[in-house]
Amino acid sequence: MQPLNILVIGAGKLGRESGQRFVAAGYKLTIIEKNHDSAVKAQELFGGSLIQGDGCDPKILERGGISRAAVILAATGDDEDNIIIAELAHRVFDVPFVMARVNRPENQWLFTKARGVDYAFCPVCVAADLIQTAMEKQLKA
């Protein structure tokens, strides 16, 4: 069986960490990154397919093989970019599963199914939840 294609947009800390895990799990990974230095860093880490460019540009997404992607992860540091990528992935390119990073918790409301986001996650909220849980557990003990 052909390995699944996964497209990650944004090679920041989150994009790189997730990408590394996808590669380790045997998926075929392509990363799109706008910033030259981050792109070089990611390339050194994975050696796999890397495209330097704006992931909100449909042409760049096509070059990254979005039409063959089973999963897409929009992990840039800009919420508006992540939403645009999700909308394009879902409504123009028919990607089956679209994940998007929420950078600012107050922008969470925009990451809806209607905008093409199947799974939204906010690293700041996740971390805050973990901290809260750990603290409450400690205080109860």
Partner: protein
């Protein structure tokens, strides 16, 4: 009307001032309070400082009862996101977004957002002015479909009637300016030398109009 303008750059400030001086209730949003200095003296609306797609800020701006929203920040993506929120989450009846990138403008207009691409608009106008200076585009109805053109009546149409230039669903003469006075013609009105004609034209019939005006053979 209650109108929200997102982005107070040159376009946003001008648009807000125009809308406000026409008697509308206008709220303009920008992330930088200094941007509001661009507003003209005719602006009597409200200014709000903050991030364009902050839900609370949009509600404070009165998005729940807004008649229209124009997203004109400098960022294509911010404009698309604000426009889509206004359209889908708040059901604002008229929503427009300025999008510089022609490809994204095309894609998102297919997805239901009315987009204005200054890149397409400016280059089209300049192209027309260079290629056919006799024919001036004065207004676009919708984003592409129908355009209003102004031109001086060519000699071959003098003494002919408006009926001869009208083509069903394609070309319609809507006004004539004669000796500085404009009027709406009837089908039988005959063109006179030096008339300036305003015609609504379906873009697909532009070449036909040019041929009828003798601009191309």
């Amino acid at each position: 009307m209650h109108i929200i303008v997102v982005g107070c750059g040159r376009v946003g400030a001008r648009l807000s001032s125009l809308l406000s001086s026409a008697g509308n209730s206008v709220v303009v949003i920008d992330k930088d309070a200094q941007a509001f200095e661009r507003l003209e003296r005719t602006f009597h609306g409200k200014t709000l400082e903050g991030i364009a797609f902050d839900r609370k800020l949009l509600i404070e701006a009165g998005i729940e009862h807004a008649d229209a929203l124009a997203a004109v920040t400098g960022g294509d993506n911010s404009n698309i996101v604000v426009a889509s929120a206004a359209l889908d989450d708040f059901r604002v009846p008229r929503v427009m977004a300025r999008i510089s990138d022609p490809i994204r403008a095309d894609m998102f207009s297919k997805l239901g957002i009315i987009t204005i691409s200054s890149t397409i608009w400016t280059s089209t106008r300049m192209y027309e002015f260079i290629i056919s200076p006799e024919l001036h585009n004065v207004f676009s109805v919708g984003s592409t479909g129908v355009q209003l053109y102004e031109f001086e009546v060519p000699n071959l149409l003098v003494d002919r009637s408006v009926r001869d230039l009208n083509v069903a669903s394609e070309i319609r003469v809507v006004a004539i300016t004669r000796e500085s006075k404009a009027f709406i013609p009837v089908l039988g009105t005959t063109f006179q030398s030096r008339d300036r004609v305003l015609a609504a034209v379906d873009m697909r019939a532009l070449e036909k109009l040019k041929a009828m005006l003798g601009m191309i053979s």
